[in-house]
């Protein structure tokens, strides 16, 4: 079976993006009557400039499809940053190798402390995040973190540097259920220009990581592009194509898509082709109309007002009260002021504590769901 990196070069994504820009009102009317996007052409039409006038209709279809498939619930999760050590040079990332930030890999005991704090705040679903560094963030270290954290968290997922299938096996065996790998940009030339050194330079290797993870037994696969590195419409089309590929080739996996917009970070990289809030809402709707059962994740990269507004438009999963600095939960002190965390990957925009985010979710008529997985499904007690 071909991997996505093998089929990717032959996908007519540039043509679709160009054709999408010329979407006519008649094309849009046909899609909106149906309330579904059946092809990538439909998807391109739904993110076209012409579609912006129909945002309200698209949002309504998106909400209806989301509620039928997921109900009126939002799944809650928190990221736990294990390490900001990284051997890659990525122009836009705060952890980039040559950025002069304090570097740390949390000792296992501190990982447990951080986990206990997050569990105390209600989280039962955790995303472990780390820079790519085979020495500090070794496979054995990650597996041990998973084992220790499973006492608090029924669901643990990973967002790490890409590994081989065989390296993922012990992590899955330990009870880890999800793997998140953002391609960052699906535009090869941009990718090469932004990832100038380190193993991350290999575009194709990264692209096939979730498929290698699936082969190891991960049941949730997260993908996404970092919006702001290249034209967002082209990126969205590539993410959609990737999700469609995974639906066919990794059919047992629940696919989630994140829509992170680039945030200010150490290194000072400026977003290109920034997308507006309305365009972000449009994109959520377009993904939902193309992929009614896909998980759509909204992180604390967006501010409270926008997050609250986007929540009922098709989002299924949200983080809250996140720290993007290793040790950021347990080292937090009351005198801390925004912008003072020097070791963070990027600075978050929604700084509300989890209980306030949960309250906002309830206010919008949704239930925040903290536990939606049981480790007994994957691990014999």
């Amino acid at each position: 079976m071909p991997t996505f990196s093998q089929v990717f070069p032959s996908l007519p994504l540039a043509e679709l993006a160009t054709a999408g820009l010329g979407t006519t009102p008649e094309q849009l009317a046909r899609i909106l009557r149906r309330g579904r996007a059946l092809t990538l052409d439909d998807f391109a039409a739904l993110i076209s400039p012409a579609a912006e006038a129909h945002l309200e209709t698209i949002a309504r279809h998106s909400q209806e499809l989301t509620q039928r498939n997921f109900g009126k619930v939002i799944r809650m999760f928190a990221p736990l940053y294990l390490s900001n050590e990284c051997i890659n040079t990525c122009s836009y990332c705060g952890f980039s190798r040559h950025n002069p930030i304090p570097r740390i890999t949390l000792p296992i005991e501190q990982v447990q402390r951080e986990g206990a704090m997050l569990a105390g705040r209600g989280f039962r679903s955790l995303l472990l995040v780390a820079g790519e560094h085979p020495k500090f963030v070794s496979n054995g270290y990650v597996t041990e973190c998973i084992q220790r954290l499973l006492t608090h968290f029924p669901s643990v997922s990973l967002e790490l540097g890409p590994l081989e299938t065989v390296d993922y096996l012990p992590m899955v065996a330990a009870g880890c259920e999800g793997l998140v790998v953002y391609q960052e940009t699906y535009h090869r030339t941009t990718y090469v220009a932004l990832h100038t050194a380190g193993p991350k330079k290999d575009f194709d290797w990264r692209m096939d990581t979730v498929e290698r993870g699936y082969a190891a037994g991960f049941r949730r696969l997260g993908i996404g592009a970092l919006l702001g590195l290249h034209d967002w419409r082209s990126e969205a089309l590539a993410v959609a194509a990737h999700a469609l590929h995974l639906r066919k080739h990794c059919w047992k996996a629940y696919v989630t898509i994140s829509l992170p917009r680039l945030r200010p970070a150490a290194g000072g990289f400026q977003p290109v082709n920034p997308m507006s809030d309305r365009q972000l809402a449009l994109l959520i709707g377009a993904f939902r109309l193309l992929l009614p059962q896909v998980g759509l994740v909204l992180s604390t990269r967006e501010g409270p007002h926008l997050r609250d507004g986007l929540m009922p438009l098709g989002i299924t999963s949200m983080s809250a009260g996140a720290s993007t600095e290793p040790g950021g939960y347990s080292s937090f002190d009351e005198n801390w002021a925004p912008g003072e965390q020097k070791g963070e990957q990027f600075h978050i925009a929604d700084e509300r504590p989890p209980e306030l985010v949960a309250e906002a979710i309830r206010r919008h008529g949704y239930e925040p769901v903290w536990k939606d997985f049981d480790r007994s499904l994957v691990v014999a007690e």
Binding site: R68, F70, G71, R124, R247, K252, E367, K371, L377
Partner: protein, 264 residues
């Protein structure tokens, strides 16, 4: 409602149910709304996803769905949603039993997380194991008459074929196969999934289903409590009509010239 449309009680594995509407507990906007909708449905059997519940016995306030389900009012039917194969389903069912939950289990195994369609092979495997292990097994299946018979043969207490995919609200798209399942069944047939309107529930009952299970249509309704009542009324009406006997639908006028008068 129930007094005017009183119908024969339903018996599953020796237990009697006066309501033929079963309700699911997922997708509700608030646990309080779920509790009120369940009460309004007058259901006596509600199913709950074990993955949403705290099975550790620690009383987790962030996974407390069971606290909203009164065990004296309902028979709690734990379901194995999230399991992708027989091994996982058996494991979580046993864990639920160890946590003190009822030994009735709604066996749901769906490896495809998109349409949540049940895996027939793994379901049959798990059903065999769980029945032998003393569970009362109610398997969620596609509307497959042969699978329904195979599950009866291994000792399942019901079969629960789907009307259409979960959450689709498309009603009885599997009608032709449901008719065969109902005709051949020796155990109660519960039509599960896809019932998006009370009329769908009524239609299933008129067809001769023994009960229906509804979740999404109630949970995401603008007023779940009233929608639960509407489903209860429709289920009772459909059952009453089935018991009374519906006139056959006529698709054409009766021929005026009799065919058999020549026989004298």
């Amino acid at each position: 409602m129930s007094t005017t449309l009183q119908h024969a009680p339903l018996i599953i594995a020796g237990r009697t149910f006066s309501s033929r509407l079963f309700v699911g507990t997922g997708k509700f906007p608030r646990p309080e709304t779920m509790r009120d909708a369940l009460a309004a449905s007058e259901s006596e059997l509600v199913t709950v996803a074990l993955k949403r519940a705290d099975l550790s016995g620690a009383g987790d306030a962030f996974a407390n769905i069971l606290e909203f389900l009164e065990p004296t009012r309902y028979l709690l039917l734990p379901n194995t949603a999230g399991a992708q194969n027989a091994e996982e389903a058996v494991r979580i069912a046993r864990l639920a039993r160890a946590a003190g939950l009822p030994t009735w289990v709604k066996l749901e195994i769906h490896p495809d997380p998109n349409y949540l369609l049940p895996d027939p092979i793994e379901t049959l495997k798990a059903a065999e194991i769980l029945v032998k292990d003393g569970f009362t097994v109610l398997p969620y299946i596609n509307a497959d008459p042969v699978l329904a018979l195979r599950l009866q043969d291994v000792g399942c207490a019901t079969v629960m074929p789907l009307g259409s995919p979960i959450g689709s609200h498309r009603g009885l798209e599997t009608r032709a196969l449901l008719e065969i399942i109902i005709e051949q069944a020796r155990v109660p047939v519960v039509v599960d999934a896809g019932l998006g309107a009370p009329s769908h529930a009524a239609a299933a009952m008129e067809l001769g289903a023994d009960a229906v299970l509804v979740n999404t249509a109630i949970a995401i309704a603008a007023d779940p409590v009233r929608m639960a009542r509407a489903f209860a009324a429709a289920t009772a009406a459909g059952r009453a009509a089935f018991e009374i006997g519906l006139g056959r639908q006529q698709s054409r006028a009766t021929a005026t010239s009799p065919l058999t008068t020549f026989l004298g």
